[in-house]
């Protein structure tokens, strides 16, 4: 057993890599050889993790990945625990339908991070995803529970169809952010393109934001300022075309 399993990309990816076998909570039962033998699809052909990555360490639920994984799809799909740290960009569907654990992406994330599989009613149902960069479209789409924090901008449809949970955006958010959400919170420090079906409620200092932002600063070292922690937020309720119990909290300054 080691402190962590390190997967280092042998060569830059040139094709789509279906990487949904890389799920940290399964690794404590696997030795280095078994990890290297995990099946993936690369460029539409069957391959193994060992074909594409060097594997260091074994039997740990903390997994560290090095390399540009923009082409890697579905990292941490369905994970229920453990920690996946990606030192670089990640492709679409990271944390797809995850239920627990932590994914930290130290680069940009592709579309549908923490989202739902095609046709599924729910995206992530627990756990935390921290994206230190920009996120693609549909981040947190249909999420049921859990926390996503994006230090950069997020694409269109962020939080689309959320059932509950929290998305924190340090940058701007694209069109359709929060559309069709039932419950849940989208907290934004940048500009948000709100759907017309959200209605302004009030400007106040939400007590849970203090807790949430202090947690993000302490746990992940995110660049939270005092004026964000103690600041005022415009509250927009929505989506009124749905249940209407969701909210977009837009930072309004100290």
């Amino acid at each position: 057993m080691s402190d962590q399993v390190v997967l280092t990309l042998r060569a830059p990816l040139e094709h789509r890599l279906e990487a949904d076998a890389i799920v940290p909570d399964r690794f404590p039962a696997l030795g280095a050889r078994a990890i290297a033998g995990l099946p993936v699809w690369y460029g539409g052909r069957p391959a193994t993790v060992g074909d594409l990555f060097t594997v260091t360490g074994e039997r740990s639920e903390r997994v560290l990945m090095h390399g540009d994984l923009t082409w890697a799809v579905g990292l941490g799909t369905g994970m229920v625990g453990g920690e996946l740290v990606i030192e670089g960009a990640a492709g679409r569907d990271a944390g797809l339908a995850m239920a627990g654990g932590v994914i930290e992406i130290r680069g940009t994330a592709g579309d549908n991070a923490g989202g739902a599989a095609p046709g599924a009613s729910r995206g992530m149902t627990g756990g935390e995803i921290v994206i230190r960069g920009n996120a693609g479209a549909d981040t947190g789409a249909r999420m049921r529970r859990g926390l996503i924090a994006v230090t950069g901008d997020a694409g269109q449809g962020t939080g689309r169809g959320m059932i509950a949970g929290t998305v924190v955006l340090f940058g701007a958010a694209g069109a359709g952010t929060g559309r069709w959400i039932k419950r849940g919170s989208i907290v934004s420090f940048g500009a948000v393109a709100r759907p017309a079906s959200f209605r302004y409620a009030c400007t106040y200092r939400p007590p849970h934001i203090r807790l949430l932002l202090r947690y993000l600063a302490t746990r992940y070292g995110l660049p939270v300022t005092d004026s964000q922690v103690a600041g005022r937020y415009h509250r927009y309720s929505g989506d009124l075309a749905e249940l209407g119990k969701g909210e977009i909290l837009e930072w309004a300054g100290a």
Partner: protein, 301 residues
């Protein structure tokens, strides 16, 4: 045994096992955190008439609270584990939820016994409440006219100790009060301990039951009442004309002992003749605090 001319009686305080919760109340500033804590711990001197005992443990700085605001730590104890959640729901619902700017957190997050206090209070939100899981713990956001009240979903419960005490036997009431005030000042803010009586001091110590009224479960401690010296089996030495009692509740025995040691030491001053303690012959309470052993532990080697 004597400390600064004050006799430490060869007796012990007898205390009971209770169930305890620690509530951390924060506010926009110390004034409002303190206000909520003071209101919450009002009318909570004794389980005999108040159903619970509660007090302020200490004030907390911004660095010590989850939301980074000034706070106050409160301990609340009951005799049984079934009534603790009910007392918390009543008191948090009526005194903290109602108090401007406050939020309410669990001060015993590692206690395995969990009480669904916030989970019960959430229904005040009439369906408009919402929950948030932050750092693995669930909180309820209850909409109120000011904005939102934030409360932890569950609070930890652990065994506590209630009824630690000592008696200050003084030459007169003024000397007893001055000594008791000094004791309270020395004990206040000891971690894990509260002094539930007014200002930390009780003047109306009790004995179990009654000599005259069968329905009374506690009546005046006539053996320590100076005005009854001539007509009852008094335990007061000559020259004692005023007695006050300090009652302590806490999370564990070592905390109570440490506070008693500090309090008794401070109470040993001019005008005080004897430090004694209340007990029931050792037959009722499982926790015994022998005064001389406690104070001996404080003596220099």
């Amino acid at each position: 045994m004597q400390i600064d001319g004050v006799t430490i009686a060869d007796t012990f305080a007898e205390a009971f096992t209770m169930r305890a919760a620690r509530v951390v109340i924060t506010g926009k500033n110390a004034r409002w955190a303190r206000q909520a804590a003071t209101t919450m711990t009002g009318f909570a001197t004794s389980v005999i008439g108040c159903k619970c005992e509660a007090g302020i443990e200490r004030e907390l700085s911004e660095r010590e609270t989850l939301d980074g605001r000034p706070g106050v730590s409160v301990l609340l104890l009951t005799m049984d584990k079934d009534s603790l959640p009910q007392r918390l729901i009543e008191r948090l619902g009526q005194t903290v939820l109602t108090c401007p700017t406050t939020a309410c957190f669990d001060g015993l997050p590692d206690a395995p016994d969990r009480l669904p206090v916030g989970k019960a209070l959430r229904v005040f939100g009439d369906g408009f409440q919402a929950s948030k899981v932050i750092g693995g713990r669930r909180y309820w956001r209850i909409p109120v006219m000011e904005g939102e009240f934030l409360v932890a979903e569950t609070f930890g419960m652990q065994k506590g100790v209630g009824g630690g005490n000592f008696l200050i036997l003084a030459e007169d009431a003024d000397s007893a009060l001055a000594a008791a005030e000094a004791a309270v000042d020395a004990m206040r803010h000891h971690p894990g301990v509260i002094l539930p009586f007014p200002g930390g001091i009780a003047r109306s110590g009790t004995k179990v039951g009654s000599k005259r009224y069968s329905t009374m479960i506690a009546t005046t401690n006539d053996a320590f009442s100076p005005t009854l010296r001539a007509i009852t089996e008094s335990e007061l030495p000559d020259g004692v004309n005023g007695v006050l009692e300090i009652v302590l509740d806490g999370l564990d025995v070592p905390s109570i002992e440490a506070a008693m040691r500090a309090g008794i030491r401070a109470a040993c001053r001019r005008g005080v003749r004897v430090i004694s303690a209340g007990n029931y012959g050792g037959k009722l309470g499982p926790h015994h605090f022998p005064l001389r052993r406690i104070m001996g532990a404080a003596a220099p080697a």
